[in-house]
Symmetry: C2
Subunit: 332 residues, 2 copies
Amino acid sequence: MTSPRPGEFEVIARYFAPLAAGSPMGLGLLDDAALVPVNPGCELVLTTDAMVAGVHFFPDDPPALIAQKLLRTNLSDLAAMGARALGYLLVTAWRDDTPEAWIAAFAQGLAADQQIFGIHLVGGDTVATPGSLSFTLTALGEVAGGRALRRSGARPGDDIYVSGTIGDAALGLMVRTGRLDDCDAADAEYLLSRHRLPEPRLALGQALVGIAGAAIDISDGLVADLGHLCAASGVGAEIAAGALPLSQAAARALGRAPVLRETLLTGGDDYELCLTLPPARAAAVQAAAAIAGHSGGVPLTAIGRITASSGVRVRDEAGAVLTFGQAGFRHF
Amino acid sequence: MTSPRPGEFEVIARYFAPLAAGSPMGLGLLDDAALVPVNPGCELVLTTDAMVAGVHFFPDDPPALIAQKLLRTNLSDLAAMGARALGYLLVTAWRDDTPEAWIAAFAQGLAADQQIFGIHLVGGDTVATPGSLSFTLTALGEVAGGRALRRSGARPGDDIYVSGTIGDAALGLMVRTGRLDDCDAADAEYLLSRHRLPEPRLALGQALVGIAGAAIDISDGLVADLGHLCAASGVGAEIAAGALPLSQAAARALGRAPVLRETLLTGGDDYELCLTLPPARAAAVQAAAAIAGHSGGVPLTAIGRITASSGVRVRDEAGAVLTFGQAGFRHF
């Protein structure tokens, strides 16, 4: 502990009120609630996720990255609905021995991401805990009424796509925990960064409105999340393991250890989008993806097809159906 | 532990999805986010509060009451803004040794309050924690655009009112912790119930729109919360300790132990409303209060006046200014 921690109201005034200063919605964190105007014809999109020390992050992870990952996992849910981000509420539970410098770094991470995503803190709560540091973030977005992307819109015959590359975050967690130590330093750093700092596909999600029939973000692992999408749609899916888009780092790791294929398919935390659409919209979706994102668009890769029979089947290059020990992350 | 606890998805399906079944907003908890339509001309009102075992509740409190208090403290924030409640999101962090019966009772408390307040669960997250049980609730409300009650609308010369009776919850906490043992059983039970199960003044808050100049709910103690209201308005306040509306149980406790006056004035957790308005609106506010609430309206009592100079002064019956050791609850 580097310094005595300031009190509740000082923490709010010193670290969180400045994060709310750029938006009228938060009323300077000085009122009982936030006031959020919604554009005519739009619906509000709301999602909430928590992170607990020892469960969702390591207590010695950089505080700024913990804050950014918490914000980005919530923004990823907005992306999966095709929403524009409006702001967020944040509940922080601090221990008595949390150093003030830790709180300051956590807030700096949020400030950096507020710049990137063009949003502000609009409300929250600051409490003490005798247990684990924990944080709950509620993200607010907006989408044209009736136009949100849903999990339930997949139909047999639809193509299945994923954005970006799959499996990097699961390998990054292995790097973090010392279970993937034959990478070179650059690959290890890349994979770790994908685990620590996901890229919510907000621009892509908005570009998919009216094109994708169904969408979900990949937080529990591709097979599990595609399974959630299929269950919500009352359909099944068949994907080709060989079609999975891999980063160069992941492809090299898989080349050295083919057993990692299961990790790539079932590992969580990539926060890419998985989406479905009729084959006739293939050109439209590639055009949408090409202009979404920071620079040069977001790659979209077709990995399989929606089926009428339920369940997610993964086939290898020889056409054999693969089976997995555990299809995705569960908290308990 | 009475039984092995079911897994994350089973907990959601068994206990939380039924709480979302009555509203289309939550999409059955089967999608990435909730979709909340907002009536034309309205703003969304959002507030979030957390409760941590050992800080905000005792681990052996009845789980249903813990859930209801969490929901009601958030609804109280909506009341203080003059909003109508629309729904809520809930994050639960369970320990491995939390019995399933505890989770079931917690959900039953929410189900009971959903009936009372006419709202449903619309989203959330279910995680594991190695530390303290903790819960974060985000409540959603709606208010006509630009009409929300704010803390910042108090002006010198305004009268200050409080709803209901003040100080009961602080005495109830003393009952709970064995520090007020000379009450009779009925008084003890009443005070304890006020501590455990606050009554959010939603109908009153909505009735105050257009009448009250400023409002806040009393969660940190009257003196502290009136201080927050004054700070937001750039004014001060002077209140009369003798004007404080007390329940019969609180009045009897004060009669036996005059030293409790400070507890009544500075204790937290009553979740009554404190509001200000010009004297010319005295009849209008009493008329509004008379028709708000379940039966026979909500009592409103004038306790003082807003001043131009900052700070909250409390005078006793002889006109002397009282000073207090700690003006309100802080978490740390």
